[in-house]
């Protein structure tokens, strides 16, 4: 900055950032629009999510009271326990929906009074109670059980809505703004001949492309900070151990979707056309990649097809490290797939790009 001089890289980056911030539509679609979805899913549907099961314990329930500390912790993770002494009163609470289940001991039998109003919760309640009963039987008899129950990982079903939607919506937001940014820049700069003009300035292509990439990656990281910040502050999002691996994931995901934007810009002749083409590629992909709803309950074919979509891998990677508690290595395969997509799509875009639009 000395003597009023700025490096070409900094000057270009600043010009691009200002152009972005002053374009209300870009800011809206990159930040506000996805946040509206986050608030919608996290705030409104969130209350119907799989939160803890409200359990009323009537009188002494030996099974629960005598749980080992580890089992007790697991029990408390699943159930929000309150106590009542009157069974009728407790059952009435369940009937009214103020609680999900009431339990009492009749001799050696644990009796659970539950409601079918929310079938998912009812299933979780029954399954969980059965598991505790079986576990306690094994612990007390000292005998290995004759039958064992194998459990499938059901973490996604048990993830609270906010845990699920934050990575998915973030993936969509990053994909959208990276693709739009690249598509609009390529077309806009070609239309206005600014790209030609920059060719005649003593700056390398690397500097120009580098500035555009740096700004887009910066925007993606800001999106991430806002999503995670708002999710945690307002909707109880809790990140798991290696969430920081989502940062390199977002960076590579941004590159990947910039390449898709370049492709959209290369195959179209106007800025509007380029943005529409980018939208046409990203929006269906967001649906098919589980950005808006979990794929676990979707048809088999969809799950297979979605494996071919880069956003699926970005979403999966972020879910794994941000909320499923997987180790840092879980992000590596998605990162590799996204990088491969980025390289291939960029090469295709470069082949299809024409200087002339006429």
């Amino acid at each position: 900055m000395s003597a009023g001089r700025t490096s070409p890289f900094v000057a270009l980056s600043r010009a691009i950032v200002l152009g972005f911030l002053r374009d209300k539509a870009s800011v809206f679609f990159a930040i506000i629009f996805p946040l509206m979805f986050l608030v919608l899913f996290g705030g409104i549907f969130g209350s119907q999510g799989q939160s803890k099961v409200d359990l009323i314990q009537v009188g002494d329930v030996a099974l629960v009271d005598e749980l080992s500390p580890a089992a007790r912790a697991a029990f408390d993770d699943t159930f929000e326990v309150s106590r009542l002494d009157d069974l009728d009163e407790a059952v009435e609470e369940v009937r009214k929906g103020d609680a999900d289940v009431a339990i009492e001991m009749r001799g050696d039998v644990l009796v659970a009074h539950y409601t079918q109003t929310d079938p998912t919760k009812a299933a979780i309640t029954q399954g969980a109670l059965r598991a505790f009963v079986d576990g306690t039987n094994v612990a007390q008899s000292g005998q290995p059980p004759r039958f064992s129950l194998s459990t499938e990982q059901v973490e996604d079903d048990s993830l609270e809505t906010i845990q699920y939607v934050t990575p998915g919506l973030l993936g969509w937001a990053v994909a959208m703004s990276a693709a739009f940014g690249a598509a609009a820049t390529l077309q806009g700069w070609r239309q206005s001949k600014l790209m030609r003009r920059l060719q005649l300035a003593p700056v390398s292509t690397r500097t120009v492309v580098g500035a555009r990439v740096a700004v887009t990656v910066g925007i993606a990281l800001v999106q991430m900070a806002i999503f995670v910040g708002l999710g945690a502050a307002a909707f109880g999002l809790t990140l798991t151990g290696s969430w920081w691996m989502a940062i390199p994931l977002v960076v590579i995901g941004t590159l990947c979707f910039m390449s898709i934007g370049l492709l959209a810009g290369a195959i179209t002749t106007t800025t509007e056309g380029a943005v529409n083409a980018a939208n046409f590629m990203v929006l269906p992909m967001a649906f098919l990649s589980g950005s808006f709803f979990p794929l676990e309950g979707s048809p088999r074919w969809l799950q297979v097809v979605s494996q071919a979509l880069p956003l699926r891998h970005l979403n999966d990677g972020m879910l794994d490290v941000m909320v499923r508690g997987q180790g840092p290595a879980a992000a590596l395969l998605p990162m590799g797939i996204l990088a491969a997509f980025a390289v291939v799509v960029t090469l295709v875009a470069a082949r299809l790009f024409r200087w002339e639009t006429s």
């Binding site: 003597a3 009023g4 070409p8 200002l18 206005s192 030609r196 060719q199 005649l200 003593p202």
Partner: protein, 299 residues
């Protein structure tokens, strides 16, 4: 040494010969215009000289160096205004030219000087989208000159401006080669080429038909002089009988006499006291174009 030396350059698009064997020498400090109707090949020629497009054949030297492939050493020495407003979107005039200054590693103070010189001081905080056509052209010219290049290329800098804005811009353009800078501009306005340029290359259908000073071009034309006498002073038959007049016609602004002996005719008109409101027109570049192509000039 010539600032620009173009030798037999050809550029085809499919079967169209957009530039069809152009040769051109421009001296240092010269102000040269390429004049021709739309589609003549002016922009293509200019972009080949700048090194933006590769010619099919022929060679270009700019300041003694090859322009193709991209010659990074040459770029700081040339300034360009392309035939479009090549701006960064949504920046103000000042941000715009500061960005260009940084691309050329020039202090921003030099950029501010140029804003002043092109008369945009009170528009520095206006976004480029909100500038008028003339202001945008001025900013674009300032951005082309911010690094004080030795050669500057301006592609139709006055296109799409109203006549007043066009004339205002001429003052700015006329001063560009004062300090020894070489200027090449394209235009489809005859009057502009005549007023601004030391030499004019007349271009049509990819070829340069003639390249000379405006005066020499007109002189070489050997066209008759037209003298217009104010209406109501002379009837056509009478006019045809005057010594030295080869033809006479009624026109809305008077009677037009055609002659190859203008001095003699003017003397006769003076004797008859008919000189009030007389207009004398020798050949124009328009006549040059007509005689070179056999077509009326239409921009």
């Amino acid at each position: 040494m010539a600032a620009i030396s173009v030798h037999d350059v050809v550029k085809t698009y499919g079967s169209l010969r957009a530039v069809d064997g152009v040769s051109l020498e421009v001296g240092e400090g010269e102000f040269v215009g390429i004049l021709g109707p739309n589609g003549a090949g002016k922009t293509t020629t200019l972009e080949i000289i700048e090194g933006l497009r590769r010619p099919d054949s022929g060679s270009v030297e700019l300041l003694g160096e090859k322009v193709w492939p991209r010659n990074a050493g040459l770029l700081p020495r040339i300034g360009v205004q392309l035939q479009a407003s090549s701006f960064f979107e949504r920046l103000t005039a000042r941000e715009q030219i500061h960005t260009f200054a940084s691309l050329y590693s020039v202090p921003t103070a030099a950029a501010d000087d140029w804003l002043e010189r092109v008369g945009l001081v009170d528009k520095v905080d206006t976004r480029v989208e909100d500038l008028s056509g003339g202001q945008a052209q001025r900013l674009s010219i300032a951005c082309a000159l911010v690094h004080d290049p030795d050669v500057v290329f301006l592609d139709e800098p006055t296109a799409a401006l109203d006549p007043q804005a066009r004339r205002n811009l001429w003052d700015l353009l006329a001063g560009l080669n004062d300090s020894g800078r070489t200027v090449v501009l394209t235009t489809h306005y005859m009057d502009e080429a005549e007023v601004l340029c030391d030499r004019v290359a007349i271009m049509d259908a990819g070829r340069i038909l003639q390249f000379d000073t405006p005066a020499a071009l007109v002189r070489g034309l050997d066209s008759p002089t037209r003298i217009t006498v104010a209406p109501g002073q002379l009837d056509v038959a009478d006019a045809r009988g005057l010594a030295g007049v080869s033809d006479a016609d009624e026109a809305p602004d008077g009677v037009v006499l055609t002659t190859r002996e203008p001095a003699r005719v003017v003397a006769t008109l003076a004797e008859r006291d008919l000189l009030d409101g007389v207009r004398v027109q020798t050949g124009t570049l328009e006549d040059v174009f007509l005689s070179l192509t056999g077509r009326e000039y239409r921009a």
